[in-house]
Amino acid sequence: MKLMTALLGASALCAMTTTAIADGHEGERGRDGDVKIIYWQAPSILNPYLSGGTKDIESASLVVEPLARYDTEGNLVPWLVDEVPTVGNGGVSEDLTQITWKITEGLVWSDGTPVTSADAKFTYEYCTHPEGGCAQATKYEGVVSVETPDDLTVVVTFGGPTPNPYGPFVGGEAPILQAAQFADCMGAKAPECTEENFNPIGTGPFTVTEFKPNDVITFAANENYRVEGKPAFASVTFKGGGDATAAGRAVMETGEFDYAWNLQLAPDVIAKMEEGGLGTPVAGFGPLVERIMLNHTNPDPALGPDERAVVRPHPFLQEEAVYKAMSMAIDRPLLVEIGYGQAGRVTCNWVPVPNIYASTTFDCSTQDIAGANAMLDEAGFVDTDGDGVREANGVPMKLLYQTSTNAVRQDFQALIKQWWAEIGIESELRNLDASVFFGGDPGSPDTFQKFYADVEMYANTFNGTDPQAYLGNGLCSKIPSPATQWQGENVSRFCMEEYDALHAQLAQTADIEERGKLAAQLNDMGIENGMMIPLVHRGRLSAHANTLGGVSLNVWDSELWNIADWYRIK
């Protein structure tokens, strides 16, 4: 807990330094005119509780704000409160079941009415209403009550000890809604409140002027914003649609826009755009990891839809020599260079950041085809019939390797197929439309949960900085199967008693250093036992115009978290 307090102290310091830098550009609110932002995915709604899409959460973050949020380093910073409650300052109860937030005094909504604890309580009720279909329900998981002893105090009580009580009202996904505005939008009425969902009243630096769904949003500076002289911009034009190339071009080559979000483009394309000289790409690294999941069940089509991918084990993928050799044969630095450039790093881990949770056990930065071959030979998996493909446990080592349709993923597939061929493992490639692959439709045989293939590649991440729930994706109880309508996060169907026990221990541990150690152990256990082959730690690459100051890319929260500090460089 001491370290956590120290971290929070450091973060507060950090927040102060950012303000100090921004102070150099003081002046009237709205002095810098219009700022133009382009997201190649267009926002559909401005209520983060009804859509989990990044585009929707980040566009809404200009208007609605949480009590506390994460800064660029992943530290919590107070936002609508004076300090982040901890055990140290008495804000979190000793038994870790209660957290007390104190809303900053004198805070008002953009319509001039005061922000009170009742708004927070309402937000909790809004999201946990059983008929509302709230996208952020996990943020409020475990909460038994939200009390409001006075106008500015919010007491959140959990059902059990919660080492990480920073779920409710923290981060861009869980902002505070105005009770007065959304009072008639509870439960089944939630999706029908078009006017409210398109024009939420918030505490943020901007207010919605006009919302054109899936097209463009215009914002104006919030006249009641809590910081004098901010935001520097009088209005924001938030355009959506098109593709990442066009967005990058509009910022770096033609200068029509000031900020372009998430430029998932080949490194050489980015470099070429940068030559345009009008903008600069910026990268930030969250916990997103591109990985190959290894199936722990037998996906043989002969087994029929209900046994397929349920019967254990896989004919040969759980052999230690096999998955280790497959990992050794991969040239990760080359994958990074081809696929992501400055927005990628080599990783051997499932949880690559934050550093306190990341494991340092493995090194996988060099390709070793010869070593991989030797490992397979030693294990006795050799090519007995001379067709160039090894046999293991009586079957030829042939894999079906599936992923979603995406240029970079198909490049990766081709390269990895080649490397695996060099160690005598044949793979057949398959790619599926992302909306089907990630769709989770129990009727479709092609979803990533059903995993009717031997290996599959995709990326996954977690929100906030605590990986406990994410590491829970390796629990036996999270395995998708016909009994669960194929729902469940443990897609590789990895299952180990020791792992479950260690995860239970993590859920009971409050000490931050101890949690870090346990998380790293869980990470190692998953990798060591062939749950997945991590490939690339992926960053977020955005670009801003050279005339736009104050941008500091945040991957732990909304990218636009500090838009109040943005200004025009003259």
């Binding site: 029908e192 078009t194 769904p213 899936n214 029509e256 439709d441």
Partner: protein
């Protein structure tokens, strides 16, 4: 003619109902999930509750009549209310988009102007260019003008807009900096300056679209003119001593226009349908872009409503084309 029109109109009702059922079932059977675009960090139980809140899992015999009722009864009521200031609809539930949780028709109404502006202008420009080219090409068949025209139309036919669109952006936006590469849908034309801006941002998408439409129409015009130029009545007209201008522009052109007018009429629903690719390339965000994003997001109410509106327009303009044919060509009578 009048009874014919009435008969066709009545016949189109079962046709349209059948089309709507087919669209509905096709969408229902297609794989995909409206929650697919949500990040993986949202667990399956939460997704399931979100689906329930949207009414995604409802069986077809409930969902389809509900949609029919909303589309044919509730939506027109809202339209009347909006025009006359009445309150007939009385807060009945409208067709709601799954992506935006807002009425589909409101978004359609919001998108229609930019689509009509861009695609409609392109259509008009294309007609104005295509007809003279087609006429002159046919009159001077195999001349250098005709050959150049053939070459240009072939290029127009074969170059897809995702190539020509990006090409003109690179030339006119990136290199020359004349026109914006991103269409500003918030621009309101109020004075001369904003009108110039509107023209500037329309130039490139109109250019790309018009190239395609021109190619198509001018080939049609040319072929139709050639058919007529070799007819006996043309020789008779010339033998009577009529001037070339009268022969070509009055006798031949009028007769040749009959099939061309039909083709033009049949192309009008496509204007409303927008131009999916061109709209995406220039970020016009009209009906075409709306449809494609709705398909990607598996937003069934939106896709269903849009495709059905297109179906209505196609059936309607087919009828109009048939009637026009009868009016223009006295040899054709339906009764």
């Amino acid at each position: 003619m009048f009874t014919y029109t009435i008969r066709r109109l009545i016949l189109s009702i079962p046709t349209l109902l059948f089309i709507s059922l087919v669209i509905f079932l096709l969408l229902k059977l297609a794989p995909g999930d409206p929650m697919a675009s949500q990040p993986l960090t949202i667990p399956p139980e939460v997704r399931e509750r979100m689906r329930e809140a949207l009414g995604v899992g409802a069986p077809w015999y409930i969902a389809f009549p509900k949609w029919l009722y909303q589309f044919f009864v509730v939506e027109p009521l809202y339209l009347f209310d909006a025009m006359l200031g009445t309150n007939w609809a009385a807060d009945q539930q409208r067709v709601i988009s799954w992506q935006t949780r807002s009425p589909v028709m409101e978004i359609v109404a919001q998108r229609l102007p930019q689509t009509l502006w861009v695609v409609g202008t392109a259509y008009v420009v294309a007609i104005l260019i295509a007809l003279p080219i087609g006429i002159y090409s046919a009159y001077r068949q195999y001349s250098w003008f005709d050959n150049t025209g053939t070459f240009v139309t072939m290029v127009g036919f074969s170059v897809p807009p995702f190539f020509s669109g990006v090409l003109v952006i690179v030339i006119f936006s990136v290199q020359l900096g004349w026109f914006p590469s991103i269409y500003d849908t918030t621009l309101k034309v109020v004075d001369w300056d904003s009108f110039v801006k509107q023209l500037q941002q329309m130039v490139m998408p109109v250019m790309v679209l018009a190239l395609q439409i021109t190619s198509q129409l001018s080939r049609f015009m040319r072929a139709s003119m050639l058919d007529n130029l070799n007819q006996d009545y043309v020789r008779t007209a010339r033998a009577k001593g009529l001037g070339e201008k009268t022969v070509v522009l009055i006798h031949v052109l009028r007769n040749s226009l009959i099939p061309v007018v039909t083709v033009i009429a049949l192309g009008i629903p496509a204007i409303f349908g927008g131009a999916i690719i061109t709209e995406q390339v220039f970020k016009v965000n009209g009906i075409g872009q709306l449809l494609i994003t709705a398909i990607q997001a598996n937003d069934l109410p939106m896709v269903q409503t849009l495709t059905f509106i297109f179906a209505i327009l196609i059936v309607l303009f087919n009828l109009i084309a048939d009637i026009l044919y009868g009016i223009l060509d006295p040899r054709i009578r339906y009764d």
